[in-house]
């Protein structure tokens, strides 16, 4: 678990603009956390505080066994950084080293590279789908492949936390999807918590469990993905949600909220035809007014049922669907 308490930071030389203003947040273990905001919102600065690439002026950060990061000595800072892998917007690979040597580089800052390290690097390379590329050089790879090498490199020191700073901003849509799934899969395999910074709601929807929305150096909204996607309160959050074509509120306004049900279901039942079964079994009318079903995530659906809504609720819950009221 990582906690930030009342963090304030101002860049030297910028008199009026505060990079981070009284920021408090908590990032639980075992999850993928997304931080979204427009340029200059302070999101990159925020994750750079965690591995002390940036320092803060006031407040306190707790991460792993470390507290009060500002006053860590050089050696502790290095040890902290060793436990935190980082992926950047562009790959930041060394052009004059092979793929394998690039992956091994973070180890070499701490100790001599052993044959086990090389074996592990090769395993990671296989995991990111590039086992044939160990002796190639970065410029022989595509942008997506380079980012895969970046992921392997970030995991070589067996970190507990993976920071991703706009990891897909330089990639096309299809590659973005692949890289995000890879981050998710590797994070799970290696039991690494992930914090992703992005300006793209698509990234958030694709893999994040929690979302933190930042605006002008402040956290304006924070919650689980579903809450952010469907119950956004802050205008900035609503604007991001609209960007990916999700605008539940405008749909909901057209109906009596008492006649609406919000259904959530995971992949285990996504293939069952529950809705049509329900309509047949109960012989009720129900229409789908809104749905968002992405294959990797929990599906969301809003149905409008003017009559016998309690029966419908019971039926669905029996079929492992989570039913909630809308707003």
């Amino acid at each position: 678990m990582i906690t930030l308490e009342n963090i304030t930071k101002q860049y030297i030389g910028s008199k009026d603009e505060i990079a981070l203003n009284q920021v408090s947040a908590r990032f639980d273990s075992g999850l993928i956390h997304g931080i979204i905001g427009i340029s200059g919102a302070g999101k990159s600065t925020l994750i750079r505080l965690l591995n002390q690439l940036e320092s803060y002026d006031k407040g306190n950060i707790q991460i792993f066994d470390y507290t009060d990061l500002r006053h860590l000595n050089k050696e502790s800072t290095r040890m902290l950084r060793k436990q935190i892998g980082m992926i950047f917007q562009t790959d930041h690979l060394l052009s004059r080293k092979t793929v394998l040597d690039n992956i091994l580089l973070p180890i070499s800052f701490h100790r001599k590279i052993t044959s086990e390290d090389k074996k592990f690097a090769q395993d990671l390379l296989q995991e990111v789908g590039l086992s044939e590329y160990s002796t190639r050089y970065p410029e022989q790879l595509s942008g997506g492949q380079r980012q895969r090498v970046g992921i392997a490199r970030a995991l070589i020191n067996k970190p507990s936390l993976l920071l991703c700073d706009e990891p897909t901003s330089a990639l096309d849509v299809i590659t973005t999807g692949q890289i995000l799934q890879l981050i998710k899969a590797t994070a799970k395999n290696h039991s690494v918590d992930v914090i992703i910074v992005t300006h793209d709601m698509y990234v958030i929807r694709e893999i994040c469990d929690t979302v933190t929305v930042m605006d002008k150096g402040r956290i304006v909204e924070h919650g689980d993905l579903d809450d952010i996607l469907f119950k956004a309160k802050h205008p900035q959050t609503q604007a991001f949600v609209k960007e990916i074509g999700l605008d539940l509120s405008s749909v909901v306004q057209q109906f009596d909220p008492k006649e609406l049900l919000l259904l959530k279901f995971d992949e285990s039942i996504v293939k069952d035809s529950i809705i049509s079964e329900m309509i047949q079994t109960l012989s009720v009318t129900a229409s789908i007014v809104y749905a968002n079903v992405t294959p990797h995530r929990i599906g969301i659906m809003v149905i409008h049922a003017p009559k016998r809504i309690d029966e419908i609720k019971l039926f669905l819950e029996k079929h492992k669907v989570v039913v909630e009221d809308v707003i």
Partner: protein, 219 residues
């Protein structure tokens, strides 16, 4: 005999020029790399940002570069006499050549390291590298092709300097062109010395390019 002058005289002159160029280039590479790294490291966004130190280093570097080479030699005469024991001959030219060319190369190093850039600096630090590791294991190796290109340009500039030094007592091809050629009104000797210097410079360029090619060629 060539233009009434022993071939060995030409060869001796060529050797002296080559010696002055190679010896001072080696020193300039080391000193320039050190000074250039310091300039980069103390500048804004450098590894050890330090405004005051950067200003001092930068001013000294610029000041040294602004002194015309001929004047630098004269200024350094007392220093050279103490260090080398004489102010004549190719070795006596080395202090002036090194002090004259090092700031030039330092600036090239500084630019090359900046180009390699803050991204890689941050990457190294994020993986727990020390600042020295970032400099020696990331920034300098990544900048190597640019550093070699830079030292090639510098070596060629040094070859030019050696002929100025040669004309006032350091020997070499400059001495041949000026003393034997110009002063005795034997234009052909001047031309011969010029051609030899041109060949030497071409050779430096070819060797430099070869190194860069070797460094950049990875597959």
């Amino acid at each position: 005999m060539l233009f009434n002058l022993e071939i060995s005289t030409y060869l001796d002159a060529l050797w002296e020029t080559a010696y002055m160029t190679i010896a001072s280039t080696l020193f300039v590479f080391a000193i320039g790399l050190g000074l250039g790294s310091l300039l980069y490291a103390t500048d804004k966004d450098g590894l050890w940002e330090n405004k005051t130190l950067y200003k001092i280093l930068s001013t000294v570097t610029s000041a040294l570069r602004s002194i015309p080479f001929l004047i630098l030699i004269v200024l350094l005469i007392p220093f050279t006499r103490i260090l080398i024991g004489t102010i004549l001959g190719p070795t006596a030219a080395l202090p002036a050549l090194i002090i004259g060319a090092s700031p030039f190369y330092a600036r090239i190093v500084e630019i090359a390291l900046h180009e390699t850039g803050s991204d890689l600096k941050e990457t190294g630090l994020s993986f727990g590298a020390t600042k020295l590791q970032v400099l020696f294991r990331i920034l300098i190796p990544e900048s190597l092709p640019a550093l070699v290109r830079g030292i090639t340009v510098t070596a060629i500039a040094i070859t030019g300097y050696t002929s100025i030094a040669g004309a006032i007592g350091a020997g070499g091809l400059g001495n041949l062109a000026y003393l034997y050629g110009y002063a005795r009104n034997r234009i052909l000797i001047t031309i011969a010395a010029t051609v030899m210097i041109a060949i030497l410079i071409l050779l430096i360029q070819v060797v430099g390019d070869l190194f860069v090619k070797k460094l950049s060629k990875k597959y």
